[in-house]
């Protein structure tokens, strides 16, 4: 019995030693001195494996990891400045006075080239105009009627249920009138452009007086640093005083751009006011419900969390 245990002890000590080699235990016994120094080929293999791993990772990153820029900075366009739009805050509606001014800017400036085909006249009623005003606007335009008894299509004045007509009959006519460039429909332009309000505002106000030295501007194009490619077929349209606001707001370039951008944001998201109000309400309600559910959980769990489990050993019977 004694001899066996004496044999066993060294082998167990060695086994423990090799397992815990990396720890500080190695120095505590003299038995580990031989196995502590690893052979050279192990060091070499580990170094080579590390170098191969690091090298292949670096090669992979070089191939696939880097961000690829297909465009030059000029083709990318200058990134739009961030502006503190009040109507973009979570608890603010559109400024409907600004919407009304913005629609005036659209009607008097933008509408000569840009369509707004997804917006019906009726959606302005109760948002920025009265019924009578909108009926008058709608009646200024002509729409096709249903075919009559002879199958002929006549013209009728517009109604509130009609959509805003586009300035050109079709895309080809629009291109022909604008030197081959198609003025995009503005109904969803704020949602459809990177940068949204900031981009459109920067584009409208970003026309320099003359293109910077070295910039190449094609025939019939205008220079705008915010437009991807910097050559834009649309010229600067917003000049101070182009529009005369009925509420007396000074019609500066930036004021008009701000108003029309807010208006275009409304055409892209007419539901925004209601959406935000409903969101605030539901967050408030859900906060209350969450608080109640936390309270119920604590109420139900209180006896379980506070109970104490005691082991009372059986009393040994006295002999």
């Amino acid at each position: 019995m004694l001899a066996r245990s004496a044999l066993c002890v060294p082998s167990r000590a060695i086994a423990r030693q090799s397992l815990g080699k990396t720890t500080t235990r190695a120095s505590s016994t003299a038995a580990g001195a031989e196995s502590a120094s690893s052979p050279f080929y192990l060091t070499l293999t580990a170094s080579l494996a590390t170098a191969a791993a690091a090298g292949s990772a670096a090669w992979y990153y070089h191939l696939y990891g880097q961000e690829a820029f297909a465009s030059t900075p000029a083709e990318e366009g200058l990134h739009a400045t961030q502006y503190p739009w009040v109507h973009e805050r979570f608890n603010k509606t559109f400024d409907h006075g600004a919407l009304r001014r913005g629609f005036q800017v659209y009607r008097e400036v933008c509408a000569s080239c840009h369509s707004l085909t997804r917006v019906p006249w009726r959606s302005f009623v109760g948002t920025m105009h009265t019924v009578d005003e909108m009926k008058a606007f709608a009646e200024e335009n002509e729409y096709d009627t249903e075919p009559n008894d002879q199958g002929e299509i006549e013209k009728r004045p517009g109604k509130l249920s009609d959509y805003i007509p586009s300035p050109y009959k079709n895309e080809e006519a629009a291109r022909a009138a604008n030197g081959g460039a198609l003025p995009p429909d503005l109904s969803l332009i704020i949602k459809g452009r990177h940068g949204g309000c900031n981009y459109v505002f920067s584009l409208l106000t970003g026309y320099p007086d003359e293109p910077p030295a070295g910039a190449s501007v094609a025939e019939g194009m205008n220079f705008n640093p915010y437009f991807p490619g910097t050559g834009i077929a649309m010229g600067r349209v917003l000049f101070d005083g182009v529009v005369e606001y009925e509420d007396g707001t000074p019609a500066t370039t930036s004021q008009m751009a701000k108003d029309v951008v807010e208006f275009l944001n409304w055409t892209a998201e007419p539901e925004m006011d209601d959406r935000k109000k409903m969101g605030v309400k539901s967050v408030a309600l859900l906060t209350g419900l969450f608080a109640i559910s936390v309270w119920i959980k604590r109420y139900k769990w209180a006896p379980i969390k506070t109970r104490k489990i005691v082991y009372s050993p059986p009393v040994a019977p006295r002999r």
Binding site: K92, T93, K277, V280, K281, L285
Partner: protein, 68 residues
């Protein structure tokens, strides 16, 4: 004391199922009314002067003057 109050509540509202259900429905109705009214008021005060109902008097009055 508290025991008697809760006892009164139990006897009045909870004991009979019909009364209990009616209480629940009536209080849900009342809560929604109160919640909507309050939150609409807060919303309108946060957005004072921005909504159509705040500015429409300018344009409605003008129409009436024209009619007169």
């Amino acid at each position: 004391m508290a025991g008697s109050i809760s006892n009164v509540i139990y006897q009045t509202f909870i004991r009979r199922n019909a009364v209990f259900l009616t209480t629940i429905f009536a209080s849900a109705f009342a809560f929604e009314l109160a919640f909507d009214t309050t939150s609409n008021k807060i919303w309108d005060s946060v957005n004072r002067g921005r909504q159509w109902k705040d500015i429409k008097y300018r344009y409605l009055n003008k129409d009436e003057e024209e009619e007169e």
